[in-house]
Amino acid sequence: MPMSTSRQSCSLSFTIAQASISKSLFSPRVGTLSLTRNGDGNIDIDTPGVIVNTSRGVVPHLSREQYKQCSSVRWVHVPFETFLEHKPPVPTLQTGQDPLHRFLGYPSDKCVVSMSLRDPHDGREVPSNGNAFVSANTIRGVRKVSPDEWRSYALACKPDIVVPLSDTPFNPSPYSQKRLTKSIERSFTWLTHFLQPIEGSHPFNVFVHLAGGASIAARTAFSESLLETLHGKDADMVKPLKSLDEGVTGYQLDLVPLRLALSGVINIDTSPVTTDPGIKTSDIVPLLRSSLFPLPTHKIRLVNSSKSPHEMLTLIQQIGVDLFDAQWAQRAADIGIALDFSFPVGNWGTRRRSNGKQDLGHNLFDPSYAEDFAPLANCFIGEATRNGDVPVCMCGACSPLSPHTRISHSSLDESAPNGGEVGQPFTRAYLHHLLHTHEMSAHSLLVLHNLAVLDAFFAGVRNAIRSLGNETFDLEISRFFQEYDEELLVFSESEAMWGEVEMARGKGRLTREKAKQTTV
């Protein structure tokens, strides 16, 4: 394995806007995260904001050229475990600058790439971790990864941000006191190991998973251990760091293992997405607070696998979270939902349910969209409006740009016009058609759209934090809760229809569907 230890400079800074600093430990805040690689210029990301998830290294349903065009793809998170199928993991073989960016096709001048061993959304049971390894999932079975291996992969791949190994149990809870203690101790040891200085090179930007499971005491203990002044062997190892926290850039809060620990059931389903409706956001808040309470406030707080914008708002409001992953919106694209909501609540929205609440998006599988030629979302009033009163979203599905270049295949081919013109939006009717005909393009367009809606939601949140007083911000949040359905009924409906269409293939499909429609 080519193992260059020299690492280009890559520094991450986080600035919290002056106005937000004076407030309390957990109050909502806006900030800017700024990454400088090789002194080349910054990638700035506003917070609260969103990071995009990947599966096997790719943003599901997007092509590489769409990474460049889609403004929502700014920070992508790469779970590394699928690459363990090949030894050595293939991304470690990539040469040149920014190897992980290069291997996966994320433009290094535009994208921040972070890397963790495990997929933070995967709640499936895996065999226990050991004293010197973590069990990771691949399609070829479970692989053991040692702290040494993990560090060597990170050194070879040079991601902008790395999450060190953490001992998070993925077997049925409740966990004993002993298990929790072991979890904290191992996570501490592995973080210490990871923070060893790298000879002749810039240190990693490290985000640490805050361990401790569902126990307030354990979570507090882990966070406090990060701040302790180190002695003896540990101190020698991480010199010149005085405490582990000095080597940490951000704090990561993974909700999937937390929900598992709280619910006491393990997800034996093969689907890596778990949502236990029994676990409420209010059950989680005190646990997250106990982790963050001892720690300095100026570092980035990242939450993975938040289940809804409602939960995101709560976590911003009550804990001051800075970053969320987009898993929820990406999943919506998988199951045929075009998101349509805004913050603060706007005048235009989706249909209202009998309980008076609006859905967060449109289940485009629904037959009612077959002849609906409107653009995907209503909520963009005030954005660029082309036809006067029709609100338009600036994503690749609602405002498709004509190509700037066309490949010329012979000397006779006519050259392309300039390109870059905004075309007509793709309609709900077209997406409905694509979903029912199993066309992959449906999901590409929905990913582009849903990420844009989530982005706009966070822009609205930032704006509100900046310009509104605490009380007005809280009022806007309660309006959001009043207006939009928190139960996500549209998700379960869409998921059911998606499942049916997934199954519906082969001869006689149309007849069977017709028969079903007439019996309804």
Binding site: S55, R56, G57, V58, V59, P60, H61, L62, S63, R64, E65, T82, E85, H86, V90, L93, Q94, R102, F103, G105, A370, E371, F373, G396, P400, L401, S402, P403, H404, T405, R406, I407, S408, H409, S410, S411, L412, D413, E414, G423, Q424, T427, A429, Y430, H433, L434, H436, T437, E439, M440, S441, H443, S444, L445, K507, G508, R509, L510, T511, K514
Partner: protein, 418 residues
């Protein structure tokens, strides 16, 4: 339609022409990617256009079932519905009736089939087919023809050919009266099975109707027939069809997609201008990338650590971005993004092969182009005998500077694990 032949090959029957339709210019010879259900699988129309594609195909049968004519009429046609601003061609829907339904009965009135929605007998008449294609609004529309398998023998072949001519007249009449003639162009489909006599009869009848027809398709060769028979029929038709009309070889490689490339080049040499095939896009979804050196099966473990792109010299976004074979191996058949990446490459590759043919015909080097393509594609592994025979018939000897063995059969090339 404005159709103009720009250059002809001095040796073969190949030619370069310019076809100006309602949605822009398409240079011929060309290959048409297939967007059966109003989408090239996985790509947006903008992505397809960026690849330099100017003409795609939609299937009438499928669009008629879903989304249905009501939706297409409301959308203002298939171009607007799918956001495609360049040229579009639709078939008549007749072929799928035969290939997808066991119960289709052909009567003089039209094709009687069991509706896949209601199970009730439904009639697709030539008028109905054209009417549906008018709703779709494609730049090129096809007549409804009476399709029989190329393996059919006996009086049914003659009957189908004669009926196709009669149906052509009904299509012409309906199209004339529709007011769509200025924006949509009707193509006739030459039938007659594998019988040269019947083909000649059909050609004579259809050429008589030339003034009402914008172009000609060669139908009834959908695989299964002997390759040596296949190219002889193509040659017979292409030789006889009028100079000043585009010639479209329909559904070649339907049964044996892997030979599509060879069919394509041989057909061009025989004088064909257009061809469609689902193969480049379908095979991409299974992880097979097309290259000048033969297909590359990215699922094979030999690619798992290969940091090279599919083809360093390929201008497609996948290759120019440096997407490695190792990366594609990792995601192929697991992520839709793999299908997108390889589809982008394969469509570009096909378009490059055809663009290269246009340039070679223009510069008088088409025979050399064919020889170097075969040499690169097959190396010393031997050439399919039918290709050698077909190209000899138009004055190109593939073996001239490259004496290799002749392989009987279809000549499909595949990449194996070692």
């Amino acid at each position: 339609m404005q159709f103009e032949v720009i250059a002809k090959c001095h040796t073969t029957r190949a030619r370069v022409s310019r076809m100006n339709l309602t949605h822009g210019v398409t240079m011929l010879p060309t290959f048409m990617p297939v967007a059966t259900q109003a989408a090239i699988k996985g790509l947006t129309p903008q992505q397809v256009e960026a690849l330099g594609v100017t003409l795609i195909l939609n299937n009438t049968y499928h669009l008629n079932l879903r989304p249905g004519m009501k939706v297409l009429n409301q959308a203002g046609g298939a171009h607007k519905f799918q956001g495609w601003h360049r040229n579009l061609l639709t078939d008549s829907g007749g072929f799928q009736l035969v290939s997808l339904s066991k119960f289709t009965t052909i009567t003089e009135e039209g094709a009687l089939f069991l509706s896949p929605f209601t199970g009730e007998p439904t009639m697709l008449t030539p008028e109905e087919s054209i009417s549906i294609q008018h709703s779709i609004g494609a730049d090129i529309i096809m007549q409804l023809d009476d399709v029989v398998s190329s393996l059919t023998t006996g009086p049914r072949v003659a009957e189908a050919m004669e009926r196709s001519v009669r149906w052509l007249d009904r299509c012409i009449k309906y199209h004339e009266g529709s007011g769509k003639k200025s924006t949509q162009n009707l193509f006739a489909i030459v039938q007659g099975g594998l019988d040269p006599h019947l083909r000649h009869q059909c050609l004579d009848a259809m050429i008589q109707r030339k003034n009402d027809i914008s172009g000609y398709a060669i139908g009834g060769l959908s695989g299964g027939e002997e390759k040596d028979v296949f190219w002889r029929i193509i040659k017979l038709c292409a030789d006889k069809l009028p100079e000043d009309r585009p010639r479209y070889s329909m559904g070649i490689g339907f049964a044996e997609g892997r030979n599509f490339l060879l069919h394509l080049l041989v057909c061009v040499a025989l004088g064909v201008d257009m061809a469609d095939c689902v193969f480049p896009t379908r095979t991409a979804r299974f992880g097979v990338a097309l290259t000048h050196a033969g297909p590359l099966n990215l699922k094979l473990s030999k690619h798992e650590a290969d940091m090279n792109p599919i083809d360093k010299s390929c201008p497609c976004p996948t290759c120019t971005d440096g997407t490695s074979r190792a990366y594609l191996h990792h995601i192929v058949t697991h992520e839709t993004a793999a299908a997108h990446a390889v589809t982008i490459h394969n469509i570009t590759f096909q378009a490059q092969v055809m663009g290269g043919a246009r340039d070679a015909i223009l510069s008088g080097t088409f025979p050399e182009y064919l020889r170097s393509f075969f040499a690169g594609y097959f190396g010393d592994g031997g050439y399919p005998e039918w290709c050698v025979n077909a190209l000899r018939s138009v004055g190109v000897d593939l073996l001239q500077d490259h004496p290799v063995n002749l392989i009987p059969g279809s000549g499909a090339k595949w990449e194996y694990a070692n």
